[in-house]
């Protein structure tokens, strides 16, 4: 986790760690494979099983779609991490420059 440098003028934001989003697809897949492998012998159970299976397949699709939506809603991942860090640095520089400029012109003696 990168450490935020504390510059004297820039107010430091207390770093609260953001918990990663939980996306669990594998359990659903396992479930489907298990129920397929169960393969009961008598017909009624088979029908019930295949019905359940198709339900689970639908659930898998729903899970995948939901995870895609969650990913799309996440903030801050428009760029790769390196790009983001570069932007952060340039933003800091911009802020420092502007503060310097203001300080310079406020203190100038005519």
């Amino acid at each position: 986790m990168e450490v935020v440098e504390t510059k004297p003028q820039i107010t430091n934001i207390p770093e609260t760690k953001i918990q990663p989003v939980e996306i669990e697809i594998l359990p659903v897949v396992y479930d489907i494979i298990r129920s397929v492998e169960k393969d009961p012998i008598d017909n009624t159970a088979k029908q019930k099983e295949s019905a359940e299976c198709s339900q689970k397949v639908l659930e898998l699709q729903r899970t995948l779609e939901a995870s895609r939506n969650t990913i799309r809603k996440l903030q801050g991942i428009e760029h790769s991490k390196e790009e983001q860090l570069r932007r952060l640095e340039s933003l800091r520089k911009q802020l420092a420059l502007k503060q310097q400029l203001i300080k310079k012109y406020k203190n100038v003696q005519f």
Binding site: M1, E2, V4, I10, T11, I13, E15, T16, K17, I18, Q19, P20, V21, E22, I23, I25, L26, V29, I32, I33, V36, E37, V57, L60, L64, S67, R68, I71, R72, L74, Q75, G76, I77, E78, H79, S80, K81, E83, Q84, L85, R87, L88, L91, R92, Q94, L95, K98, Q99, L101, I102, Y105, K106
Partner: protein, 265 residues
């Protein structure tokens, strides 16, 4: 892997797609009849691939969480930058204002200095100025007398007769067809017309020789103007007129300004 230039979002979505594909493969393989099933090695590989993809998904989600934290910092920084921008704009406005005020002040100061220098080149004594001011305002040509009431025939401006008695009136009378009146008869005319003795002509004594406009105080208290070619002096009545001369004025003048003067009460 060539996906490092991609944004994290794209990577995550790609991983999810991959997981979907592999999972579908696995399930189809499980359902497929024995003849079409792939070898167990392949199956195992697929399973491994699926697990790998899941791990990759989790690590990328972790990365996304970190980036979200960085994004929060950046938002705060952007807010500070915006405040600085506002402050810079404000200072710029004030600087421009100050510059404008200073420029105006300097310009006006220069003008004042120039007029001071100009005045210093040709100084005039204050006594002389006061005398002239007194003379001009004595005939109520500037301001109505304090006791002025409605119906008072005096006017707070030089009346027609007074204008005719001036330099312009004297020099142009020949052109207009009126004859130049003899100075002495005028004196008599005004002496007859005026009833009030000079309260206005207060200043006694001669004007200093430096006055260019040939005014002179007569011992009687009237203001006289010396004529260049005609010789002698013409008296200028600085006292209140009476009705006769006023009626004369109203009848003779055809200019709108004079006629309006009689109307305005």
């Amino acid at each position: 892997m060539s996906s490092y230039h991609l944004s994290t979002r794209e990577r995550l979505l790609a991983i999810v797609n991959d997981i979907e594909i592999v999972a579908k493969e696995l399930i189809e393989n499980t359902i497929a009849p024995k003849a079409q099933k792939m070898s167990s090695a392949d199956h195992a590989q697929l399973v491994e691939l699926l697990v790998l993809k899941d791990k990759e998904l989790k690590s990328t989600l972790q990365l996304a969480a970190e980036q979200a934290g960085i994004e929060k910092n950046m938002d705060a920084l952007r807010e500070q930058v915006r405040k600085q921008d506002e402050e810079i704009n404000q200072l710029q406005k004030q600087l421009k204002e100050a510059e404008q005020i200073l420029a105006t002040s300097i310009f006006q100061a220069r003008q004042k200095l120039a007029s001071i220098a100009k005045a210093n080149k040709r100084p005039v004594s204050s006594e002389e100025l006061i005398k002239f001011a007194h003379r001009i305002s004595a005939s109520h040509a500037i301001c109505a007398p304090l006791t002025w009431q409605q119906g008072d025939l005096r006017r707070p401006y030089p009346t027609d007769i007074e204008m005719r008695l001036g330099l312009l009136g004297k020099s142009d009378l020949n052109i207009n067809g009126h004859n130049l009146q003899h100075p002495s008869s005028l004196n008599e005319m005004h002496r007859n017309a005026s009833a009030v003795t000079g309260t206005a002509g207060g200043a006694g004594g001669e004007i200093p020789a430096s006055a260019p406009n040939q005014f002179a105080w007569h011992p009687s208290g009237e203001l006289h103007m010396s004529m260049g070619s005609g010789g002698g002096s013409v008296s200028l009545d600085t006292r209140a007129h009476k009705d006769a001369s006023q009626d004369d004025v109203e009848v003779m003048s055809t200019e709108s300004s004079s006629s309006s003067s009689s109307d305005s009460q």
